[in-house]
Symmetry: C2
Subunit: 337 residues, 2 copies
């Protein structure tokens, strides 16, 4: 049984904690939170032991009637692996503390790649983190790209990738971010940081990415062109994608015209928090001409890295190989169902 | 003096009428309007003779106190060229009437390419419409692509183009169109109709386009990758673009972070209606790697075809070659200033 703690119980942390709790080979030692807000309360209601990020804020939790089991140090002492789900850039500041506790660490993609010896996508390079002391799960967009490109590279060979990432302005609760009624190159630099980030998990891929931010909160949408070394027809590519549990083929004929339809379907089918763990690829759009494949995929920024975090825990623990881990994660969560 | 009438005084028609009125070699015979609304009133206030699209609606104009000079038939009889700016698909229904009046016709990109023997972009294929009886100015997005690709093809040779068009949901007044808080593949088919449309003016270009619609009204934004036969550096491409009056280089350093900044600048500098006739290309984003050029451009959907319509009138009239016409149009309107 791998004892896992989750440092930071926000958008990613709360989802990872629930996903870890569903694994037969893992237990949630505890979760930590800086502020005694509604998310802290929901952690307790979900049955997680809650630890305060700061000892001097313990009384604040008490004042709000939120029971706390101790502070982060106590939590780390009792864990085999910590998933760092603190805000981007904060994980780095915890590195020394994690080392003091001699604990394995899964960082998130908001950290610089130098935070850990490896970066991680379960479909692309699980083995690189096997038995390691730390790894970094790449960001939602990079995870989405790696999942789609890895099987294409294995099956057909990929000579180059060009992707335009149409990014949501913020998550549904980040209503202060914008843009309002605008389309913004973000970043304006080409390639965007997603291209070098993809190379942290697939170092041999020739990739160019551009990013554009728009007034939407639900999902990211990628328009991707992949130059293949082979020239399969579109139906072959559809079958290839369909064989990957973390790639979900959707169609406009079934009513999935945009991201909102995908999210509605996830809620209707009882997904926790309406989460979409899979890349959603429009089957109608898959197009190949002279070995140049073009497709659209939607990426749920709050959810797609959750199964990756679970797999990363197993990789560091060294208790399962990539195929075993992915299959167990997918089955327990219901990925690809 | 070329006598020009404008059939349809909506988003495009009102702009074309004003642009034609500014030309030393053209006069506005009149403009026509179906509904006696505020746009009809503004036509009269702008000094245009107004004609009613339907004889049986003449009394409606009178009842609103909007003076009318006659009906469309009267207007066409007095004109050398008509610019058809009726809604998409309606232009086709006027074709027989235009033929009866033996009048040259400029159609818009909302019509099927079969409406006229040629399609038109002043930078790409002006000569094809020289002295012809009818031509079709391609749509705003296609015009934007052709203007950027034509000089690249002449200077470096273009082997292929891939463009993701992030499309505004509607014009500022089309507030019933949506999407709201969504990112929608539109059309979901790849390539989108823009690729074959570009080939109506640049038949030899290997082009793939994808379209995505977002909750914004100001401009379209293109993320474009062009595979060149040469390998210029980014600064060379910047200079090449800068030499084209209808391509405007902008920078985030100057404060142009998104489409809203571009529009604000156009209003601040006194552009009529805040119109942006040029493709706005972010100089900071221009990137070339192994002959693969990537850049962002913003396209003002209400305005970029306006100078093209003026040039199309001259092409049909056969009174100026492409360079002369573009220079005259740009100088009178202030394009590229």
């Amino acid at each position: 049984m791998i004892g896992v703690s989750v440092n930071g119980f926000g958008t990613i942390g709360k989802r990872v904690a629930d996903a870890v709790a569903a694994q037969p080979d893992m237990s949630v030692v505890g979760v930590s939170k800086r502020s005694p807000n509604h998310e802290a309360r929901s952690a307790v209601e979900a049955g997680h032991d809650l630890y305060a990020a700061d000892a001097d804020r313990l009384t604040e939790f008490g004042a709000r009637g939120i029971p706390v089991a101790g502070t982060v140090g106590d939590m780390l002492s009792a864990s085999d692996v910590v998933v760092d789900a603190t805000p981007a850039g904060v994980g780095e500041t915890y590195r020394d503390r994690y080392a003091e506790h001699d604990i394995d660490v899964v960082y998130q993609g908001g950290e610089d790649e130098s935070v850990a010896p490896e970066s991680f996508c379960a479909r692309a390079n699980y083995e690189r983190s096997f038995g390691a002391e730390a790894t970094r799960v790449v960001s939602c967009n990079t995870t989405g790209l790696a999942r789609a490109v890895a099987p294409l590279d294995e099956t057909y060979g990929v000579s180059s990738v060009e992707a335009t990432l149409i990014r949501r302005g913020g998550d549904p609760t980040q209503t202060d971010r914008g843009p309002i009624n605008d389309i913004v190159p973000d970043p304006v630099e080409v390639p965007s940081h997603h291209a070098p980030d993809l190379r942290t998990v697939m170092p041999d891929i020739d990739v160019t990415t551009t990013g554009v931010t728009v007034p939407a909160t639900l999902m990211h949408l990628h328009s991707v062109t992949v130059s293949l070394d082979a020239d399969p027809d579109a139906s072959e590519v559809r079958e290839r994608f369909a064989a990957e549990p973390r790639l979900q083929l959707i169609t406009t004929a079934s009513g999935c015209e945009g991201c909102a339809d995908i999210q509605e379907y996830a809620r209707d089918t009882g997904r926790p928090r309406g989460d979409v763990w899979e890349n959603c690829i429009w089957a109608d759009a898959i197009h190949v001409s002279d070995g140049r494949l073009t497709f659209f995929q939607a990426i749920h920024q709050q959810a797609d890295v959750v199964p990756e975090n679970v797999d990363a825990v197993r990789a560091l623990a060294g208790t399962a190989d990539a195929g075993e881990s992915r299959a167990r994660t997918d089955e327990t969560l219901g990925v690809g169902m």
